[in-house]
């Protein structure tokens, strides 16, 4: 009897604690969400959102049936899935850092690896263009010394995808590893001591103590990454695009941006955005359910 009452009262306490964030989400996320309806209407400012004419799926059709739509969606997926394959890098980095003995070196490595995240994407792409310049770029100069002819990184479609994905790794690996480093710091040192006593080598320790301990973190991050496959942001790839790599570099966000820049067509861009959101969310639900089934961790 007492336990039940305790549980009931503690539930309202939880509600009280979470009230502020919930209000925040309603005000700043759910209320503006009503604006999604713009994707289905010929939005007129005069008539307001409710009064504007309903055009149904017109913009969706426009987005999905244009000559380039399949190519653009395909490019987005390919880049997204390729990026997904680099998912383990921050984890490996975090483990490596965690295993370091020298505090000083550890700190320096951490600081340096997370620094690229701060470099604005404009500067990053500018630097990349300079480093991979056909003639004077340091990368091609080094390749030349080994006898490999200059590689047109930005102009060769075959190379472009790797360039995009790995430069992304360069930019974010250190930053993403921070969460794993934090998780690793929470690994119970008793477990570790027990393992050492049992005679486990470092490698075995990582495999049997560290990894399982941070497994839930890994799963959650993986679920998020899967959900984000189709959300290739616009800024970086727009800066890297040109007519030679367009066949692989034109993604949903850049294409919609170009069309939208031409005239401020909110219906179109809202529809395209909604499409991306739907696909991402469905992917998220699927992956979440799978994880729920096979592991104990899931988003909800």
């Amino acid at each position: 009897m007492q336990k039940k009452r305790k549980k009931k009262s503690s539930n309202w306490q939880f509600w009280a604690i979470i009230a502020l964030p919930v209000i925040y989400a309603i005000v700043f996320a759910y209320i503006p969400m009503g604006g999604i309806i713009i994707g289905f209407k010929d939005y007129s400012i005069r008539k307001g959102i409710l009064g504007s004419d309903w055009v149904g799926l017109k913009y969706f059709k426009q987005f999905l049936t244009s000559t380039n739509s399949l190519l653009v969606i395909k490019n987005t997926f390919i880049l997204g899935i390729y990026t997904l394959f680099t998912f383990p890098v921050p984890i490996l980095l975090a483990i490596g850092i965690n295993e370091m003995r020298s505090k000083w070196y550890k700190k320096t490595v951490q600081m340096v690896t997370y620094a690229p995240y701060f470099i604005s994407v404009v500067v990053l792409v500018g630097m990349m263009m300079q480093m991979m310049d056909l003639r004077s770029g340091i990368i091609n100069v080094l390749l030349g010394k080994v006898g490999i002819g200059p590689v047109n990184f930005f102009g060769n479609p075959k190379v472009f995808r790797s360039l995009y994905v790995w430069s992304g790794v360069w930019q974010t690996a250190g930053y993403s590893s921070i969460i794993y480093v934090a998780a690793l710091s929470g690994v119970s040192s008793e477990l570790e001591e027990a393992a050492i006593v049992d005679g486990a080598s470092r490698f075995q320790r990582i495999l049997h103590v560290d990894l399982p301990s941070i497994w839930p973190t890994i799963i959650i991050m993986l679920i998020f990454s899967c959900g984000n496959i189709i959300s290739i942001g616009m800024d970086k790839i727009y800066l890297m695009q040109n007519s030679m790599n367009a066949s692989v570099s034109e993604v949903i966000s850049t294409f919609v941006y170009k069309v939208g820049v031409v005239n401020s067509n909110f219906g179109y861009s809202t529809a395209a955005g909604l499409f991306q959101s739907l696909v991402s969310f469905i992917l998220l639900i699927v992956v979440n359910q799978v994880c729920k089934k096979f592991t104990e961790t899931s988003l909800w």
Binding site: L20, A25, A29, G34, R101, V109, F118, G227, F266, F281
Partner: protein
């Protein structure tokens, strides 16, 4: 635990340590080089930068780039504003994130599943810029510092990371033990969860802090008065300034004078804009320490 010396390690462990150091050093160098380049370029003669002479070290070092940056009177207000948004904003972020992640981490909370979905949904579906702008306007937040702080009070992504951390680092036994002592969820949050969450709060401080510091777009959208502009927006303006539209200005030679500055400014503005936040890390570092949980479960 005594630190074992290298020569006493097993062969397997030795190889591992060496391999680890090599692996990390490689990554370190690859990442480090472009950063060194940026710093070197910011101290170099612009002509050297432009002709590709700068490879690793500054060529014909000069402080011209930095002089140009600091000459702008708006820089100081920019710095001040950025710091205000950084501290106030990040503090708000930490509070909101904790208030949200903690209830969602407790299995006893019945609405946990529904609310998790409630929040995650907002990550993927959004009305877009226009409805949000209208909302901010109607709330009377336009052109106020609050517009920079409140609308971004919490990131669901970071909140989930926090939730995961709490769920997996703070054992259930602690909670049950506290229940027997008559501890309310609220007190548990304050006296147990918060102290043990230092590593994750460090991570959140970093994540939120960086995102706030680099945000120029929100300022551009919601702020009008230059007095309120953060550093990044002003930096962007300076960079844009040096790429003047040839057709608009009557005197072409004035324009070309500006262009000489453009490349110089590019690198010095990056350094000036990024350095403060990069320095945030060492402060946060000491919380990311192993062994936080020692002694918490025993007894």
């Amino acid at each position: 635990m005594k630190k074992s010396k290298f020569r006493y390690m097993s062969a397997g462990d030795k190889t591992f340590t060496v391999a680890n150091y090599v692996f990390l050093t490689l990554i370190f160098v690859v990442i480090l080089y472009p950063l060194i380049y940026v710093v070197s370029a910011s101290f170099s003669d612009p002509q050297a930068v432009i002709s590709g002479e700068v490879v690793l070290f500054p060529v014909r070092p000069t402080l011209k780039g930095y002089k140009a940056v600091f000459q702008n009177k708006k820089i100081i207000t920019g710095f001040i504003n950025s710091f205000i948004y950084l501290f106030a904003g990040t503090a708000l972020n930490l509070v909101m994130t904790m208030l949200c992640a903690y209830p969602l981490s407790r299995k006893e909370f019945k609405a946990r599943g529904f609310l998790s979905l409630f929040f995650v949904f907002t990550m993927y579906f959004s009305g877009g810029m226009v409805p949000t702008y209208i909302l901010v306007n109607k709330l009377g937040l336009l052109n106020t510092r609050a517009a920079m702080i409140i609308p971004s009070a919490m990131s669901t992504y970071n909140m989930i990371i926090c939730r995961t951390y709490i769920m997996n680092t703070i054992p259930d036994e602690l909670y049950e033990a506290s229940q027997l002592d008559g501890c309310t969820p609220f007190r548990y949050l304050l006296s147990v969860v918060m102290p043990l969450s230092k590593p994750i709060m460090a991570v959140l401080t970093l994540y939120y802090g960086v995102s706030r510091w680099n945000d120029y777009f929100t300022a551009m959208l919601y702020l009008n008065k230059d007095k309120l502009q953060p550093l990044t927006t002003i930096m962007r303006e300076i960079l844009i300034m040096s790429k003047v539209d040839m057709t608009k200005v009557a005197d072409a030679s004035a324009v070309s004078k500006l262009q000489g500055m453009s490349d110089l400014l590019k690198y010095s503005t990056i350094v000036v804009a990024s350095l403060p936040v990069m320095l945030l890390y060492p402060f946060v570092q000491k919380y990311l320490v192993k062994g936080v949980m020692i002694g918490s479960v025993k007894g």
